[in-house]
């Protein structure tokens, strides 16, 4: 295992990944903090907005909101594009400046389709494609006659863009319907969510999306209000959202705590401290690109296991009737362990189960943090 880890950390791919994201980390932190403030305190459904009624008494609310929205848009909103540019630079050996230029222009061309839906997106949604595109551009420019290749790449991008436009006109767009409930559906969705986040893609269940939607959540809420038994106990809304998403997809609040407890590397400790703020309102981008979790084959294991374990623990507690079901609507930016407490309207056992789930995720991240610390010491 250690040998494998060692090989991964000295692989060319890992070097490119680090070279791509390391320079972007300050920007990611700034953007995530702006986004955390924006969604938790300066939007209508934010936790702090609702609980403290910020909108009614805070002076300059609208102005701060505007500023934060711009900060977020010009940092995280460009992350896909910046990833393409920096990935190209990391791969290109002979002509990094040209590679950056071509990757940037090419990615812009691909992403300004008539229906933005079909483009991978300049922002977070385009993280993986930006990385792949940048790497491809860098690699192509490493071959012979880079200046000629550069022109070809841009012409090719325009051709692809024209094809995308045709698709957009044909209104072919992917869509998925129905939120799964029932044991197997929930397990698959929990796993898929972690894997998508690991790839840098938009997860199915975004930690920032409203907590309770869909017919099962409505049926549950209506039943509780009518003092009847909850019809759908095993759903993402009753198990995954309130118990397994602390800190973001993968329950990464557990990772932050594990790092602070055992990791002695200064850079990682610093990263964990900085990630704590956004982590409290369930945003984990700095960890994703900084630790890094993104495309890190070893971290995929706890990233999937931690939410699975938390979901299973919640399932057991709920089916043994140790706690009541989470049915009430709470803001998505509610600090993790408080989600279940509020969504059950103050059920003490639910709060305890939430902390047990948090402890479980810390325990699951613990050995991985230890292992990475040994294999990849601070430089």
């Amino acid at each position: 295992m250690k040998k494998l880890l060692h090989r991964y950390f000295h692989s060319r791919f890992y070097a490119i990944l680090t070279a791509t994201f390391h320079p972007l980390l300050p920007l990611v932190l700034l953007g995530t903090y702006a986004q955390a403030l924006l969604v938790a305190a300066f939007s209508r459904n934010g936790f702090f907005t609702e609980v403290f009624g910020l909108k009614s008494w805070l002076p300059g609310y609208a102005l701060i909101r505007q500023g934060l929205a711009m900060l977020t848009a010009y940092t995280l909103g460009l992350l896909g594009l910046l990833t393409a540019i920096f990935a190209a630079r990391a791969v290109a050996r002979r002509n990094p400046t040209l590679a950056m230029l071509v990757a940037g222009i090419g990615f812009l061309i691909l992403n300004t389709t008539r229906l933005a839906l079909l483009g991978p997106g300049l922002g977070l949604g385009g993280l993986l494609l930006g990385l792949l595109f940048g790497m491809l551009v860098g690699w192509l420019l490493n071959l012979a006659r880079p200046r000629l290749t550069a022109s070809f790449i841009i012409i090719l991008a325009v051709a692809i863009r024209l094809g995308l436009n045709a698709l957009a006109v044909g209104e072919i767009s992917p869509s998925f319907t129905g939120i799964p409930h029932g044991g197997v559906g929930v397990l698959l969705a929990v796993m898929a969510n972690s894997v998508l986040a690991w790839f840098g893609l938009t997860p199915l269940i975004d930690p920032l999306s409203p907590l309770l939607t869909g017919p099962t959540a409505t049926a549950n809420l209506t039943a509780v209000l009518a003092h009847k038994t909850v019809p759908y106990l095993t759903t993402l809304g009753t198990l995954y959202r309130p118990f397994a998403l602390f800190g973001g997809v993968g329950g990464t609040l557990g990772l932050i705590i594990a790092i602070l407890l055992v990791d002695r590397r200064r850079t990682k400790r610093q990263l964990a401290k900085w990630s704590l703020g956004p982590g409290l309102v369930n945003l984990n981008l700095p960890l994703l690109v900084g630790y890094p979790l993104l495309l890190n084959p070893f971290m995929l294991i706890p990233l999937t296991l931690a939410p699975l374990a938390a979901t299973a623990l919640a399932w057991v507690a709920l089916h043994l009737h140790l706690m009541t079901a989470a049915v009430y609507h709470v803001p998505a930016t509610t600090p993790g362990p408080m989600l279940a407490w509020l969504a059950t309207n103050g059920n003490w056992p639910a709060l305890i189960v939430a902390f047990v789930c948090l402890a479980a995720s810390v325990a699951i991240y613990w050995p991985f943090v230890k292992m990475l610390e040994e294999v990849a010491p601070d430089v």
């Binding site: 936790f47 609980v51 403290f52 209000l225 009518a226 009430y328 509610t334 407490w341 509020l342 103050g346």
Partner: protein, 296 residues
């Protein structure tokens, strides 16, 4: 600063922040849930009238006609429950009417404790159907004569406080001790009703109205039989008020037309006497044969 001191300081700060979030958030959530509950509770809260023995669904026609002359916007639905539990109905609930009258009568409307028990069971069937059809979970009750007994039996035996709320009940000339004029001679029915009084909702307000044509009763029901209601309701429901009316129309069968009793209904039972924007069919009464029957 030593490391231990720093850790203590940071933990204290963390605890303070956590509590500073936890307490306001919990209070906020309680408010939110209460608000959601209010939205969930039905806006419609009908007044449900149950006639006494030998009376049909038309027993309250006179009362409601007069009430509708004094107030506005209340429509009338009349249902009769057959012995097999099926229902027929006349009249309809007008659109936007949040306080309609619903009269529930019984095909078998005979007197006697055994029949009253059956009628309470039929009343429960009818209430379930009405609540499902017209989507309400709050209501007020009026019972004339044995109708008051049916209400009391329903409350003690079938009422589910988790899914319905009866806030006010007015019984008019209800013989809680049947025809017995000596309060110390308790009938089997009164004994049973007292025995199960703990099942009565504690949030309920009860008005028991008695008529007096003579000094001892309304000509049919002895005053002491009506007053025996106190053994059932007093110290169990939230409020129990006993009112005795006399003068014109104070004999037992005239009570629903008694001016004072009409005023009491308007005053104590109707929440919103003059509802705006409700179109009630002419003469304050629904035309017979109009309106759909609740789902069977």
């Amino acid at each position: 600063m030593s490391k231990a001191l720093r850790i203590t300081l940071f933990s204290l700060l963390g605890l303070a922040v956590a509590l500073g979030l936890f307490i306001p958030a919990t209070l906020w959530m309680r408010g939110q849930v209460k608000q959601t509950q209010v939205i969930h509770d039905s806006r419609m809260a009908p007044v449900i009238l149950v006639p006494g023995s030998s009376a049909t669904q038309n027993r309250f026609n006179g009362l409601i006609t007069t009430l509708n002359q004094r107030t506005s916007g209340h429509s009338l639905l009349k249902v009769t429950v057959k012995t097999d539990g099926s229902m027929t109905s006349t009249g309809s609930i007008a659109a936007r009417d949040n306080e309609p009258y619903i009269v529930v009568a019984f095909e078998n409307n005979k007197d006697g404790y055994n029949n009253i028990k059956k009628q309470a069971r039929w009343f429960n069937i009818a209430m379930k159907k009405l609540m499902a059809t017209y989507h309400f979970n709050r209501f007020k009750g009026i019972g004339h004569s044995n109708g008051g007994l049916i209400w009391t039996l329903f409350l003690e035996k079938y009422y589910a406080s988790a899914s319905m709320t009866l806030s006010d009940l007015m019984t008019i000339g209800t013989p809680y001790n049947l025809e017995e004029s000596n309060a110390s001679n308790r009938t089997q029915m009164l004994v049973d009703l007292i025995k199960a009084k703990k099942k009565l909702p504690t949030s309920l307000t009860v008005y028991s109205l008695a008529g007096t044509a003579t000094y001892s009763g309304d000509g049919t029901v002895p005053l002491s039989s009506v007053e025996s209601g106190k053994y059932i309701f007093q110290n169990q429901v939230k409020h129990y008020t006993q009112i005795t009316v006399s003068g014109d129309d104070a004999s037992h069968s005239d009570l629903p037309q008694n001016r004072q009793i009409e005023s009491y209904i308007q005053q104590y039972i109707l929440t919103n006497p003059n509802q705006q924007g409700v179109h009630v069919p002419a003469s304050g009464q629904a035309r017979p044969g109009v309106g759909s029957a609740p789902d069977e």
